[in-house]
Amino acid sequence: MVHAVQSGHPGGSLGCTEFFVAMYFNVLDYQAKPFSKTGENEDVFILSNGHISPVYYSTMARAGIFEVNELNTFRKIDSRLQGHPATEEGLEGVRIASGSLGQGLSVATGVALSKRVKGDDHWVYCLCGDGELQEGQNWEAIMFAGHNRVDNLILTVDFNQQQIDGSTVDIMGFSELGSKFEAFGWKVLSMNGNDLSDVLSTMREAQAAGKQGQPVAIIMRTEMGNGVDFMMGSHEWHGIAPNDEQLESALAQNPETLGDY
């Protein structure tokens, strides 16, 4: 997808692939069709770091939320698959626009409150990036959800320690990130986001820890560009597209690639 339009964000998308597959094929209790805009009586997933739209769209299409061949239109004119997710053209699966960072956790908290008001005991899940936690709005939401015991909310932080200008350690470190959440009243778990079985078991653990007066945060260690040797261990592949040669090399390293669109 990213190669076809020579733009997009492959690094974070590859790092979160196992997480998305786990969510849409196992963890989330939802109906792929017809898509419910309000998500009433089902689990709701809110993506905050909208730039990893390639993995978001790919997973939703293959989960049957919209047609797989629509992935061909990604980032092209007249597409429902905008560079960053949007509701404007009515793409099934997307309930809120994201792209400008730091807003998704507030939205997810609001959806969780709506379920509380309506007596709907389903979960609200949110994914955000680690660099994204530099946006102050997240901490407003973290403070609110902890204080108000929004315990039907499970946040996963994609802890790949990379952002556009370099490593998060150099730019704005997150030492003791788990303790920060705990200090705001959250239950904290961690997992290896590139190990599918760890993701599945930790999400179950999060559900077991939830609905007991505390929101849950999972610090998910991932490797940006996971599965493609030249993309791993660097921030360089945050927002650039592979050329023909690089695409060939990347696909050769992932023989199970679907190639179905």
Binding site: R95, S106, K115, Q137, M143
Partner: protein, 317 residues
């Protein structure tokens, strides 16, 4: 000139508070959020009656707007309450992406707009909010003129599926609109029929325009007075009809000239019916501390300013 009976004085924010309580009784999807200004926004009645539907966001407006977008996603109708400054400029990107672009049914209710906030001074006296909000696609922008109109608008916007910015103010102000009015979004109120000059006013300046029209009537000048409570979508038809009749226009608002009602009216007339226009508005400056009426006087928003603008507009025909 029609004579208006003033049914006492009340702040428009109380119209919001009373309207919110009433609409919440009728519609159980209505929920409220406030950023540590429950008393100032007159939201205590709602909060006490419906504690499960009220969310105290604390001094964290960005999160409040985001949560409102989430509550709307879940099918509820959230009303957010804080000062106009913190309802708009402070949270513009949150409104742009999470509310307007995402088509969320959020009602952004903003008190203490404009100079009449008074003594707190320019940090709190936002005069740019109408412009900020009307530029956003999908956004409806309303600025009400008295207690009754604010109450009616607060109730009416629950039935409009989409984001709304509802702007009102702090001071006690004459009540002169009908207690039992039906508020229709986008439909101007023809306050007075006249033939010499059109005065198109919004918010607190509607009452000032009525006072000006009375003075002008004594001078033998007949004013066609229109209240535009909905700045977006604008009632083009009502404005064009009036301008075609009088051939000169004055706009009056408690806002910057750039980006306000006058700006919208001038754009419409420029495109459809070029007409001399004078604007009573704040001219590219910040406000300051003072009493509401002193401030309106100092910044050229008094009754006399409207009278002078009308005479000038007539002279340009």
């Amino acid at each position: 000139m029609i004579q208006f009976e003033v049914a006492g004085q009340k702040d428009t924010r109380s119209g919001f508070g009373d309207g919110l309580l009433e609409v919440a009784k009728r519609n159980d999807k209505v929920v409220g959020l406030c950023a540590d200004l429950t008393g100032s926004l007159k939201m205590n009645g709602f909060k006490n009656e419906f504690p499960q539907r009220f969310f105290q966001a604390g001094i964290a407006e960005a999160n409040m707007i985001g949560m409102a977008a989430g509550l709307a996603t879940g099918g509820l109708i959230p009303y957010t309450g804080t000062f106009a400054n913190f309802s708009t400029g402070r949270v513009y990107d949150q409104i742009r992406q999470s509310v307007a672009y995402s088509h969320k049914n959020v009602k952004i209710c903003a008190s203490h707009a404009g100079l009449t906030l008074g003594e707190d001074g320019a940090t709190h006296q936002i005069l740019e909010d109408i412009g900020l909000m009307k530029m956003l696609p999908n956004m409806t922008v309303i600025n009400t003129c008295d207690y009754n109109q604010t109450k009616a608008a607060t109730i009416a916007i629950a039935d409009h599926d989409g984001p709304v910015y509802l702007r009102f103010g702090r001071p006690k102000w004459p009540i002169f609109t009908d207690e039992n009015q039906t508020f229709e979004i986008g439909k101007a109120w023809h306050v007075n029929e006249g033939s010499d000059v059109s005065i198109i006013a919004t918010g607190h300046m509607v009452w000032k325009s009525i006072e000006a029209a009375q003075i002008l009537a004594e001078k033998g000048i007949s004013v066609d007075l229109i209240n535009i409570h909905t700045i977006k979508p604008l009632d083009d038809e009502a404005i064009l009809k009036s301008a075609l009749k009088t051939r000169c226009v004055v706009t009056a608002e408690e806002h910057q000239m750039n980006g306000g009602l006058g700006d919208s009216v001038a754009q419409l007339l420029g495109r459809k019916l070029p007409t001399p226009i004078e604007m009573v508005a704040v001219n590219d400056s910040f406000g300051e501390s003072g009493k509401p009426l002193e401030l309106l006087e100092k910044y050229g928003l008094s009754t006399d300013s409207i009278v002078e603008a009308a005479q000038k507009a007539i002279g340009r025909k």
